[in-house]
């Protein structure tokens, strides 16, 4: 029970499946992870590995009526799966906030950003319209938007991508959330703006003390911001460890291959970057046994069974070959 108090978020054995015309599709199979207060958890994996779906499940934002979600999602010890819409609504935006990938489409085009921030403030508090607006200006200042007093009355289309993402972050921070879920918040931005946004998130984490779950497919971003890392592949967690161990002693062949695909900044420039042979498995045709098996260079006979996470609590990998090391 001490664990429950130490951790902000505890996800246990989360399964998400979708009923489709081609049969049931298992998008997430038995994902478990914890987030401690104030820490940054990086979640990496290719597109379709289930990073976003698992966090949308945490937020209760999977609205597809064909989705089946089982397992346990506890926030501050309170079960979120099966909680009423009203309960979820009071947590969403107030205690857990989310930043989305594309700032171009994640703001309603017909309202000013001040209006949209104020909407969130007033959804959770007793603030008057005037107070909510002042709070919006304050937040826009905090995220470093130039000229916040004027920016508050701007419409999304009048702002650049980086400025919009700052506005979205300001909105997410409006109720001082304990947990911030950032779903590839820098993917749609230029590299220089990316760096600014990462700096901003790191600074806000210090100032506001929010824990951050950072979803990305970019190992460079992970190196920049994460404390601990969760590597996902085909709907499962294949490795979890602190950042240092992931980069220096990766155990899962997939993590290893991901790191190999980053160009080195010292030494000779390689002729070709190492890529991972093959493509991620289709959810409709999952290989039996280890999902990474067909693409894995260290494959052995044992890999025809599904490997579980093994290893000491601080560093676990789901691999028969290298997991025990």
């Amino acid at each position: 029970m001490a664990d429950a108090l130490r951790n902000l978020l505890e996800v246990r054995d989360l399964h998400v499946a979708f009923r489709t015309s081609r049969g049931k599709v298992q998008a997430i199979s038995g994902v478990s992870f914890d987030v401690a207060p104030g820490e940054v958890l990086g979640v990496v994996g290719e597109s379709g590995s289930g990073k976003t779906i698992s966090l949308l499940a945490v937020m209760g934002l999977i609205t597809d009526p064909n989705a089946e979600i089982t397992g346990s999602i506890r926030f501050r010890g309170k079960e979120l799966l099966g909680a009423s819409n009203k309960e979820l609504r009071s947590i969403r935006g107030r205690e857990i906030a989310m930043i989305f990938q594309d700032p171009m489409t994640s703001l309603t085009p017909v309202y000013t950003i001040g209006w949209q921030i104020a909407e969130q403030v007033r959804a959770h508090g007793p603030e008057t319209a005037k107070q909510a607006r002042d709070r919006a200006v304050e937040l826009l200042t905090a995220v470093g938007l130039p000229n916040p007093g004027e920016a508050v009355d701007r419409y999304p289309h009048q702002l650049s991508g980086g400025m919009r993402q700052r506005a979205v972050i300001a909105m997410a921070l409006s109720c001082n959330p304990a947990l911030l879920v950032a779903d590839e918040p820098t993917t749609a931005l230029d590299v220089t703006v990316q760096a600014q946004i990462l700096d901003l998130l790191a600074r806000l984490r210090r100032d506001f003390g929010s824990a951050i779950v950072f979803i990305t497919h970019d190992m460079g971003v992970i190196a920049e911001i994460a404390d601990r890392v969760l590597v996902m592949y085909a709907g499962r967690v294949v490795e979890r460890a602190n950042k240092r161990d992931i980069f220096l002693e990766p155990r899962h062949p997939y993590t290893h291959a991901l790191l190999q695909s980053i160009p080195p900044i010292t030494g000779d420039r390689p002729r070709r970057l190492k890529s991972i042979a093959g493509t991620p498995p289709s959810l409709f045709a999952m290989p039996s046994g280890c999902a990474f098996g067909p693409r894995c260079t260290s494959r052995v006979a044992a890999c025809s069974a599904v490997p579980g996470l093994t290893g000491e609590p601080a560093h676990q990998a789901a691999c028969f070959v290298t997991g025990m090391r």
């Binding site: 937020m59 934002l61 017909v110 909407e119």
Partner: protein
């Protein structure tokens, strides 16, 4: 904010000028058009044709003919029919305009209210029996021709069951000007407006439902949910609000067309001497002055409505404001 409005007003004037030139050329300059004998009407005597030629300056160059026509239409407003002797065309159109305008505005009010209601309800209860029932009802509404519905309504309210308490309030067919009796004006318009509106209610309900359902898939709806905003607020303030933009476009086109005379069948069924009816009569008699005046009048309304819609855009869609 003012500049885009002025710009649209300018566009409007240019469009009106273009249309008037085009309409003029169609009737006056196309080979074989023989405007003089057209204006004079069928079986006209040579004296009448000569009088027409003199009155419309048909022996002069085309631009002068155009100016004379425009002067008769807009400045002196003394364009007269030769088919129907002594019939002043402009006052006739001007008297018909308020009738059509009342009919169409009333219908528009009805179809906007019910179209919105049906669209929002159907989208809110997507894929439930409420949605299906509303969609089937709107399809039935769209499938009923307005003139047929009008005729059926008349059958019940004017003859068969007129004395039945439910329909005893229905006044005789025809139009009563508002200044004479506001109550009768409203009562005579209720059923015509309703029968004209039914099809549009169906169309608007379906279009709006589709737009809202599509908008609900947008990323900003997910953002709003993540903010902890209630579902009903998301539906009305976010999804409906952004969906209104395309409905306003549709409305501008429909309203302009109807005021321009497309409501002719409803006008005939309910014995309203509106613009549609006047155009229809002009066409039956091949009465060129009437046709010209009516065509330009409808064009004017289509253009005005579109300009109004453009201005409404500026109001409801902030993205329209900057391109000024």
């Amino acid at each position: 904010m003012l500049l885009p409005v002025l710009k649209r007003l300018g566009d409007m004037v240019v469009a009106m000028f273009g249309i008037s030139v085009l309409v003029f050329l169609i009737f006056f300059a196309i080979p074989g058009a023989e405007p003089a004998s057209r204006i004079a009407g069928r079986n006209a005597s040579p004296e009448t044709v000569a009088a027409v030629r003199l009155s419309f300056g048909l022996d002069q160059p085309l631009p002068v003919q155009y100016l004379i026509m425009m002067k008769k239409l807009f400045i002196t407003q003394d364009l007269t029919s030769f088919v129907n002797r002594g019939y002043k065309v402009i006052p006739a159109v001007m008297n018909a305009a308020p009738i059509t305008l009342s009919l169409v505005a009333g219908a528009a009010l009805i179809w906007i209210v019910f179209g919105l209601l049906i669209g929002v309800l159907a989208a809110a209860f997507k894929n439930t029996w409420i949605d299906r029932l509303l969609m089937v009802m709107s399809l039935i509404g769209i499938s009923m021709p307005a003139f047929w519905l009008g005729a059926v309504i008349n059958l019940f309210t004017q003859s068969r069951w007129h004395d039945y308490w439910l329909f005893s309030w229905v006044p005789p067919l025809g139009y009563k000007p508002f200044v004479e009796s506001p109550k009768l004006w409203a009562l005579t318009l209720v059923l015509p407006c309703f029968s004209l509106a039914v099809g549009y209610i169906g169309i608007y309900g379906r279009v709006l439902r589709a737009n809202i359902v599509e908008a609900m898939q947008e990323d900003y709806i997910r953002t709003a949910r993540a903010k902890g905003v209630s579902e009903s607020r998301i539906l009305i303030r976010h999804a409906l609000r952004t969906s209104l933009i395309s409905v306003v476009t549709l409305f501008g086109l429909d309203f302009g067309q109807l005021v321009g005379g497309v409501a002719v069948l409803t006008e005939i069924v309910f014995a309203l001497q509106g613009v549609g009816k006047i155009t229809f009569d002009g066409l039956l008699n091949l009465d060129l002055p009437v046709i010209m005046a009516a065509v330009l009048y409808s064009a004017l309304f289509v253009v005005i409505c579109n300009a109004l819609v453009d201005m409404l855009y500026i109001l409801i869609d902030p993205r329209e404001r900057t391109d000024g």
